[in-house]
């Protein structure tokens, strides 16, 4: 029963965001917007984590998605949010389908490190590309949303925000369905014991491949939406510290529910932003201590608070 409720709660929350977004001050809207973008990326990380894989290089797809979206305008004159997201999906799906052939053979720390190396190679390539602004990156401007002109209007930010909310909701719902499917349920089994999964007749390699591509596409979608929301992209998105933040949010959230990544991302952004404001000299320390507290006292992530509470009730 609880699974239906999870989807329902999420839908209700997103409808509330969609309606409430009109009344939010812009700074709050931006924070939520970025949290949702992060949440979408971490949603994909969560799928990988359920499969027993932690990528220290998901910045690769986050960045690739952002660049796939951002380069549409300078190279093809297209500045439509919808097309930007689709372009990110296409590029990250193609790239990850190829790289998964290699990465699906790796586990544990080796998977993490090879992912890291690949994302750092993209970082290096982008830093060397002065046509794309090298390490400074370039600004991404949005003109239309599925053909409707929003660029330069008063509601531009709100329209982008609404798009992010809707896309995040679609991603979460699809992921929810996927996790209930047969292949989706294989993830946990692979994490527990691959050999048994193989003996059962399921293909570990194929499942990991599919899950990897899904998580990469989600990271790309998050990157494209972040590009539209922030209005600027740079190679830093592929740097290992960006990937580290995704892992951080993933652990903070826990893998309990598709709603967890969004909650985790929102809390992460809030902590970070508050720490920036109130202790500009020790915001890293604040993040570090938060992380330790979560790992020590909430090993299942923030989401475990909810399940615990539900069990108690």
């Amino acid at each position: 029963m609880s699974r239906d409720r999870s989807a329902g709660i999420l839908t209700a929350a997103f409808v509330a965001l969609l309606v409430g977004g009109a009344f939010l001050p812009r700074w709050a809207m931006f924070l939520i917007d970025i949290s949702l973008c992060y949440g979408i990326v971490v949603l994909g990380m969560m799928l990988l984590m359920r499969t027993g894989l932690v990528s220290f290089g998901h910045g690769l797809y986050y960045c690739l998605g952002a660049y796939a979206a951002g380069t549409l305008e300078p190279f093809f004159g297209v500045a439509d949010v919808g097309l930007m997201v689709l372009s990110a999906v296409a590029v990250t799906a193609a790239a990850s389908a190829l790289l998964a052939l290699l990465l699906r053979k790796y586990r544990d720390i080796f998977f993490a490190m090879l992912s890291l190396a690949l994302s750092m190679i993209l970082y290096g390539l982008l830093v060397k590309t002065s046509a794309l602004g090298s390490s400074d990156g370039f600004n991404v401007s949005v003109r239309t949303l599925f053909g409707f002109v929003i660029g330069g209007t008063d509601y531009e930010r709100r329209a982008i925000f609404a798009t992010t909310v809707v896309v995040a909701w679609i991603c979460a719902m699809l992921m929810h369905r996927y996790l209930q499917s047969q292949r989706g349920r294989l993830a946990g089994a692979i994490r527990d014991n691959e050999l048994r999964v193989e003996y059962m007749g399921a293909s570990v390699a194929n499942t990991i491949h599919v899950n990897y591509v899904i998580s990469a596409v989600l990271a790309g979608v998050g990157g494209a939406l972040a590009a539209a929301s922030v209005g600027h992209i740079d190679p830093e998105m592929a740097y290992w510290t960006t990937s580290g933040e995704f892992v951080f949010v993933g652990i903070l959230s826990g893998t309990g529910s598709v709603a967890a990544p969004f909650l985790g991302a929102a809390i992460f952004e809030t902590i970070r932003s508050t720490a920036y404001e109130y202790s500009p000299n020790t915001w890293q320390m604040t993040l570090g201590i938060t992380m330790l507290v979560v790992i020590m006292f909430l090993p299942g992530g923030l989401w475990s608070l909810f399940t615990r509470w539900r069990k108690a009730a």
């Binding site: 001050p25 812009r26 700074w27 931006f30 924070l31 970025i34 830093v127 060397k128 002065s130 602004g133 090298s134 390490s135 400074d136 990156g137 370039f138 600004n139 401007s141 531009e156 930010r157 972040a226 922030v230 209005g231 600027h232 992209i233 740079d234 830093e236 998105m237 960006t242 952004e269 970070r272 932003s273 920036y276 404001e277 500009p280 000299n281 915001w283 890293q284």
Partner: protein, 450 residues
């Protein structure tokens, strides 16, 4: 005619007096909040971010006390005191955009002065435009900001980086007119790459005979330069160009000097000035250094310069380096624009004698100028900075231009002196409006009309 002019002159004088007295009485009302964004952590904090912050704090204190020399001797901005909200610039463009929105909408600052990293400047400019918040970029260098975009609320009160390469090359060729070969070591990110690209482009125009032998591009923060030093050494180049800064520059010098890299090679440090006092004993005599403008040791002997040196020295015990001059230019430019906007408002108010709504009109005239009004005043403004005249002449009046200067180091008695200083006027080192830096360099750097 005469009488009318006299009358309007009197009216103006009266208005100014009224404005000043109103300003005095209003002075303690609500301070003007300025958001200052500068590196407080990370590698750029030591040489750039923190000196800028310290300078900003000293400047605000001195301005609030009305102790700055004329024409900046009114308290605060037109009598209203200033207060600052300081934010760390570290963390990349996404975080900076979020923090900028917080600064403007949650902290409700009136103006933003900030940004050292060019990437952050590029990212912030459209957001400033969206939020209609007057934002003064104080230290980033890339010409792309106003060559690729046009903004109403965004200004940069320091000249862009093109002049660093042009001035350095002009100086070098005066010293070594028969230059045949050169090499470079620059960090592998936008600043280092642009710096080297500009440098080779300028030299290929000014001295086509000279060849680039090797371009070393260690990554930012590399720390170890052993192989690079060998490669530079074996290249046999006469001159080494470098835009290294901060800790990377120091590490390079510490490793290169004992290895006698500079025995028969001349070093050009585009951004070496902030490190000079620290490199005593680790910098060869004859090194050509710049301060990315006529700042620091290159600044003229003016009351304004003496003021900045005095308040900075009181705070740190050191002489101000170029980021301190950059931030001073931002504050003084904004102050000049703010006060001009205020006077313009009063001047343009409905003349006395108009019977209806005098009170309302006067109140409106004496209200604090809006961002649009200050922006209009700053556009195309020429103001005095501690390093001389600053003209807002590029990017439709939003981008400052200034001449630049270079000199040669000599270590005497535990101090690095800069000698043979040469100043280069604006027209020799900056492209005129409407021409991009790249095109101007390729086109032979023809002096524009200023």
């Amino acid at each position: 005619m005469q009488r009318r002019r006299l009358l309007s002159g009197a009216a103006l004088a009266f208005a100014v007096l009224a404005a000043l007295s109103a300003a005095q009485s209003q002075a303690q009302d609500k301070p003007i909040r300025i958001g200052l964004v500068t590196f407080l952590s990370g590698p750029a904090s030591g040489p750039f971010g923190v000196p800028a912050k310290v300078a900003a704090e000293a400047i605000v204190e001195s301005l609030n006390a009305g102790r700055a020399p004329a024409p900046y001797n009114s308290k605060g901005f037109a009598g209203t005191p200033l207060e600052m909200v300081i934010i760390d610039e570290a963390g990349g463009a996404t975080k900076q955009v979020a923090e900028y929105r917080n600064l403007v909408q949650r902290q409700e600052v009136d103006f933003v002065i900030g940004y050292i990293s060019s990437g952050d400047c590029l990212a912030i400019a459209p957001v400033a435009e969206e939020l209609k918040k007057l934002t003064v970029l104080f230290d980033c260098g890339t010409p792309r900001i106003f060559e690729e975009g046009a903004y109403r609320y965004v200004f940069r009160t320091r000249a862009h980086a093109t002049m660093d390469a042009v001035g350095g090359a002009l100086y070098l060729l005066e010293q070594m007119p028969a230059l045949k070969t050169y090499a470079g070591i620059n960090q592998n990110y936008a600043w280092g790459q642009d710096s080297w690209n500009d440098w080779t482009a300028v030299l290929s125009v000014l001295r086509p005979e000279a060849r680039a032998l090797t371009s070393q591009m260690p990554k930012f923060g590399a720390g170890q330069y052993g192989a690079e030093i060998s490669a530079l050494s074996q290249s046999g180049a006469e001159v080494i160009h470098s835009s290294l800064w901060g800790g990377d520059l120091e590490a390079f010098m510490l490793q290169a000097v004992p290895r006698q890299l500079f025995k028969n090679k001349r070093l050009v440090l585009i951004a070496g000035e902030p490190n000079l006092h620290r490199l005593v004993g680790n910098i060869p005599d004859g090194t050509i250094v710049g301060a990315r403008g006529p700042h620091g040791v290159f600044a003229p002997e003016t009351p304004l310069n003496a003021w900045l040196r005095e308040i900075y020295k009181a705070a740190t015990g050191l002489d101000p380096n170029y980021p301190a001059y950059s931030v001073a230019q931002a504050f003084l430019g904004l102050k000049a624009a703010y006060e001009k906007a205020r006077l313009d408002k009063i001047r343009n108010a409905i003349p006395m004698g108009a019977a209806k709504g005098v009170k309302e009109e006067m109140e409106k005239a004496y209200a604090a100028p809006a961002a649009e009004e200050v922006a209009a005043a700053l556009e195309g403004l020429t103001f005095e900075g501690p390093s001389g005249k600053v003209m807002m002449r590029l990017g439709k009046g939003h981008q400052a231009v200034q001449g630049t200067a270079y000199g040669t180091t000599r270590t005497v008695g535990g101090q690095v002196l800069v000698e043979n200083v040469r100043h280069y006027p604006v027209e020799r080192v900056q492209p005129p409006e409407g021409v991009t830096s790249v095109d101007w360099i390729k086109g032979g750097m023809k002096p524009g009309k200023w």
